[in-house]
């Protein structure tokens, strides 16, 4: 589940509840849910042609598969870019 590298900090005492650990786990699933919802919207725009049929056409189905894959590629690419820009900014200080 450590999808975006947001892991919890090492656990404290066995039975105590760490608010911040639960909250970072929450942030993590919120991020995944947000990504999923945006995928639904984005790929609907790109691939769904109309409502002549209730079933996905073969072409729509293939388009969706590629759409998800490409969305993840853009997600990864943007992540890299932001990291390298972040480092540049840091070096310029």
């Amino acid at each position: 589940m450590s999808f975006l590298g947001l892991g919890g900090k090492p656990s404290g005492a066995a039975g105590a509840i760490s608010r911040s650990k639960i909250e970072s786990a929450e942030t993590e699933i919120d991020t995944v849910a947000d990504l999923f919802n945006r995928l639904i919207e984005s790929c609907h725009k790109k691939c769904i042609q109309g409502y002549q049929e209730g079933d996905l056409s073969k072409q729509e189905g293939l388009c969706l598969d590629r759409c998800v894959y490409k969305y993840f590629e853009v997600n990864a690419k943007v992540g890299e870019l932001m990291q390298s820009m972040g480092q540049q900014q840091f070096q310029n200080r």
Partner: protein, 88 residues
């Protein structure tokens, strides 16, 4: 996630359950909004035309299949990412 202790896991699973409920309601209402927007265009009467009703049915069915298919691919991609340490 496995770094949560049992009490934290218990509380977290309650949070997840509530979020899933909310996500389901969100899916439902976004489906209604989309199919209304794409199918309903006649405001000369308050009754749905048979063409509109038919469009809403197909739109809903297609939207659910659409979400399901994306859900499957999404799971696969996540599994792949975890196995490859975050790389596609």
């Amino acid at each position: 996630m496995d770094q949560l202790n049992p009490r934290e896991q218990q509380e977290f699973s309650q949070i997840v359950e509530r979020k899933q409920m909310k996500d389901f309601m969100r899916l439902y209402s976004s489906l209604v909004e989309r199919c209304f927007s794409d199918c309903v265009n006649d405001f000369t009467s308050e009754r749905m035309t048979s063409k509109e009703t038919d469009c809403v049915s197909k739109c809903s069915e297609k939207f659910l299949k659409h979400s399901e298919r994306i859900g499957q691919r999404f799971q696969e991609m996540n599994t792949k990412l975890m196995q490859n340490g975050g790389k596609l």
